[in-house]
């Protein structure tokens, strides 16, 4: 009975039905007596063990608050509505809305030469004076042709190396060619560089063509210079100076920085974050080290266990949240990516957190020598002698690259929805497949979940974020403001 309701109106119970059925869902132990449950479209809730028990055994009290919450979130359905199927389908489509666009990110390795000799370098570099390691104009022409075969309306051209500024003439050529041949795409250019060779002429060209920079900054000077040796041990000073010149010429948001964590980094996440804040950055990416290139060869020296990285990441994030609560505006990039996947219905384009995996279908790499790879890591692996992720060369047609190589079978075979353990994991809607990493570390593109560092790291980081969202009101409110 609804007190005060005029008798000509029908009661709520006439619109309700008491039998419910479960909608597809996955669940995962969170901690103590709590479980994470997720539905098909990535909606999630944290509930108690006994509530999960009641839910799956059809003992949930009809129309209780929990019942209504789970119903509104599409974990269960009863007789009053059947529109949930269309909504789940629409949400599922939305989360995969990037797939029909195909490859958006195109990496041009314009040279393999570099002036640094970083211990973790992920591509075997050579000294500065070997033009044999530069991409030619002819190769670039073919690569641009392949790039425009992608149907994506958004194209991101990223110049990689070695140190790409050492072959700036080719960058200039590619930018002008891409602009000339552009058939109506939104094209964005980024140069990934250590900035040590940046000249004012280059800045002028970048200003004219709205080119962004992404650089490496590992933290305070001592750490950065330790990780990134240069003849005068002045890498940090050069980088900081160049960042300022770029900002002065191109604007504050035209340069971002990436850090790579080594064993030396692990003890000082706060100092690294503080250095980013001091230099005026509004975001930092606390990145783990990839098992490729020199990083693999020197693994025993600089390597560290996944658990140590997780501890480092949590400490760094805690410090960032504290800084935010004190009014400093800085975000952690990986956290933001995960939160977008956990909290919003929208699509995210980060190549390493996708299923189907992003190899080839989200990113293509045109190597200096004309080879085409399905990912940057695939290219690094090739520099170590294993060309498993080579699709062909720039002289192949777009069709040949995809249909005559084994990239598409690899994509199909490594979708999380079909991988052992992943297919039952509640974190699947937020996670991604990384066949190159698993091939490198475990010898199979599918990988072995219980011993996968990728799995361990992502599961723990996601659990950590979900706990923060549930338990720490202040942190949750800061984290939610990032998305």
């Amino acid at each position: 009975m609804t007190p005060g309701l005029n008798k000509s109106f029908r009661e709520l119970k006439t619109y309700q039905s008491d039998e419910y059925r479960l909608l597809p869902m996955r669940f995962l132990f969170l901690d103590a007596d709590r479980y994470i449950i997720t539905n098909l479209a990535g909606g999630h809730r944290v509930i108690k063990r006994h509530q999960l028990d009641d839910l799956v055994n059809h003992r949930l009290a009809a129309h209780s608050i929990l019942y209504d919450d789970l119903k509104g979130d599409h974990f269960l359905a009863d007789g009053d509505s059947d529109v949930y199927g269309e909504l789940l389908a629409a949400k599922y489509r939305t989360r995969h809305a990037h797939l029909p666009d195909f490859t958006a990110l195109h990496l041009f390795v314009v040279t393999l030469r570099c002036d640094h000799s970083c211990q973790y370098c992920q591509v075997s570099r050579v000294s500065e004076d070997r033009p044999a390691y530069d991409m030619t104009q002819e190769t670039a022409d073919c690569a641009i042709g392949l790039m425009f075969r992608s149907p994506s309306p958004y194209i991101k051209v990223e110049f990689q190396g070695g140190e790409p500024l050492l072959n700036f003439d080719l960058i200039r050529y590619i930018v002008e060619e891409v602009n000339r041949r552009n058939d109506g795409r939104h094209v964005q250019f980024v140069i990934t560089s250590n900035l040590s060779s940046l000249t004012d002429d280059m800045l002028d060209f970048c200003a004219q063509n709205a080119i962004f920079f992404s650089t490496s900054l590992d933290g305070p000077a001592a750490l950065h210079d330790h990780n990134r040796p240069r003849p005068n041990r002045n890498s940090h000073a050069l980088t900081v100076n160049a960042i300022q010149r770029i900002r002065d010429r191109l604007g504050d948001d035209s340069v971002s920085a990436l850090m790579t964590s080594t064993a030396e980094s692990l003890t000082q996440p706060e100092a690294i974050v503080d250095e980013y804040v001091r230099l005026g950055f509004r975001s930092i990416f606390l990145r783990y080290i990839s098992p490729y290139g020199f990083a693999a060869k020197t693994a025993t020296h600089i390597g560290y266990e996944t658990e140590q990285f997780i501890a480092f990441f949590k400490r760094g994030l805690q410090h960032i949240i504290k800084l935010n609560s004190l009014g400093t505006n800085i975000q952690e990039v990986y956290t933001r990516l995960l939160l977008q996947r956990i909290l919003t219905p929208h699509v995210t384009n980060y190549v390493d957190l996708q299923s189907p995996p992003g190899i080839g279908i989200s990113v293509l790499v045109y190597n200096y020598d004309g080879d085409v790879y399905a990912s940057d890591e695939g290219r690094m692996l090739a520099e170590m002698g294993d060309k498993r992720f080579r699709l062909g060369t720039v002289h192949n047609t777009h069709r040949e690259l995809f249909l005559n190589s084994d990239v598409l079978p690899t994509v199909f075979e490594t979708m999380l929805e079909g991988l052992p353990e992943c297919c039952d994991c509640a974190l699947l809607p937020f996670c991604g497949s990384d066949p190159v990493f698993h091939y490198r570390t475990q010898g199979s593109t599918a990988g072995h979940r219980p011993t996968s560092a990728f799995c361990k790291r992502n599961m723990e980081l996601m659990r950590h974020l979900i706990r923060l969202l549930e338990d720490d009101h202040e942190a949750a409110s800061i984290l939610r403001s990032w998305i």
Binding site: T2, P3, G4, L5, N6, F9, R10, E11, L12, T14, Y15, Q16, S17, G43, H63, D68, D69, K71, G72, D73, D80, S81, D82, V83, E86, L87, A90, K91, T344, P345, H346, R480, S481, I483
Partner: protein, 380 residues
């Protein structure tokens, strides 16, 4: 002398001396003014009519050139259909409705009133092309079917500068109907559609129609598929307030494409009075739910507007979301408001609020730094 006085009811715009369309226009004169030349279709006199004129009540003194009237000479009845200078003109389609909402301010009646749409089609060409906004309402305007399309078409043709706001329960927007609407290509069209809960049965109960939730959700999705803009509207009362945050969450997850969400206070009219004790909750008692809903929507980058709430009752953080939304002819202020420093920023009350309003109504003092920009921190 004026044939119109005994003619069938007709629709006429109020003209001015020298008008080139005077044969089709009405002319309004004050009680002691002389009548205009005889070219006008009819003369309406405020107060006592002279021979051949139609007398109209003195409270229609506000009538202006460009306003549009329905004149029923034999019955001595005048209806004002359109006011040239009002920002709140409505096109009242029908009294019929396929829902029966607990709080309907305009209770539906099963009458044959198809003539209303005919009148609207006749009225639109007479309206000023400078009209800023027109609101299509009822009843449920989409019950007019083909005629609904015709009215949208006519507004596009005659009033291309005018925003058109359709208030509909959204239940009848099949994909075909939505495609037909979209095909008209109206340049500035918005559908205001109510959603009262994330739980179907609670929405269905609120609108007293089984299956209405599913129909409305499908209707919204069909409009979206055709590129038509949707505003979601939720009236807050005792039956909807408890799940207001969850409803916001549902919108953010399932309908994130909506143009904005309007959270509205009760209007003490129609069925609201009939069901007052089942519906009334003092807005002072639901500020936490309202804050939570606004926070969820804002964090999801969905624009929120709060209608029909007085600033003195709203949490300070909600002020930036409050809009002055009440149509001029229904808008009042209480005696407390005379002393209030924020009166000019405040939307005030529906005239019907005399029946019941929040215990929190009070005059606000001018706090240093007070302005409407404050409190935007809720989205951060």
């Amino acid at each position: 002398m004026f044939e119109a006085i005994d003619a069938e009811p007709f629709i006429a715009r109020i003209g001015e001396r020298g008008s080139t369309h005077c044969a089709k226009e009405a002319f309004v004169v004050r009680e002691d003014e002389v009548a205009p030349p005889k070219e006008f279709k009819c003369v309406l006199r405020l107060g006592k009519p002279r021979p051949g004129e139609i007398g109209i009540p003195k409270d229609l003194e506000y009538l202006c050139v460009g306003d549009i009237l329905r004149v029923n000479g034999p019955a001595r009845e005048i209806r004002v259909l359109y006011r040239r200078h009002s920002p709140h003109n409505i096109l009242f389609f029908t009294e019929r409705c396929n829902s029966r909402c607990l709080m309907c301010s305009q209770p539906p009646r099963a009458v044959e009133d198809g003539y209303l749409v005919e009148e609207i089609l006749e009225t639109i060409p007479l309206m000023s092309p400078e009209t800023q906004e027109l609101c299509i309402t009822g009843g449920e305007p989409t019950l007019a079917g083909e005629n609904f399309l015709e009215v949208i078409e006519a507004t596009k043709q005659w009033l291309p500068q005018t925003s058109l706001h359709v208030l509909s329960n959204g239940r009848l927007f099949s994909i075909d109907f939505a495609r037909q609407i979209a095909a008209i290509g109206h340049p500035d069209l918005m559908f205001g559609i109510p959603l009262y809960s994330d739980v179907a049965s609670k929405h269905d109960f609120t609108v007293q129609a089984k299956g209405a939730f599913d129909q409305t959700i499908r209707g919204i999705m069909n409009l979206e598929r055709c590129g038509l803009r949707v505003e979601l509207r939720c009236v807050i009362h005792k039956q909807t307030v408890e799940r207001l945050p969850q409803t916001a969450r549902y919108i953010a997850r399932n309908l994130p494409f909506v143009n904005h969400v309007a959270l509205m206070g009760l209007e003490m009219m129609g069925f609201t009075k009939t069901n007052i004790d089942a519906l009334w909750i003092d807005p002072a008692d639901y500020q936490s739910q309202l804050c939570a809903a606004v926070r969820i929507l804002t964090q999801s980058r969905i624009m929120v507007m709060i209608y029909n709430h007085q600033l003195c009752v709203l949490d300070r953080a909600l002020w930036p979301f409050a809009r002055k939304s009440i149509s001029d002819w229904k808008n009042i202020y209480m005696s407390e408001c005379d002393e209030c420093a924020s009166r000019n920023q405040c939307g005030g009350f529906f005239a019907s609020a005399a029946v019941r309003h929040s215990r929190g109504i009070r005059a606000l003092k001018n706090v240093r730094g007070d302005n409407t920009d404050l409190g935007s921190s809720i989205g951060a």
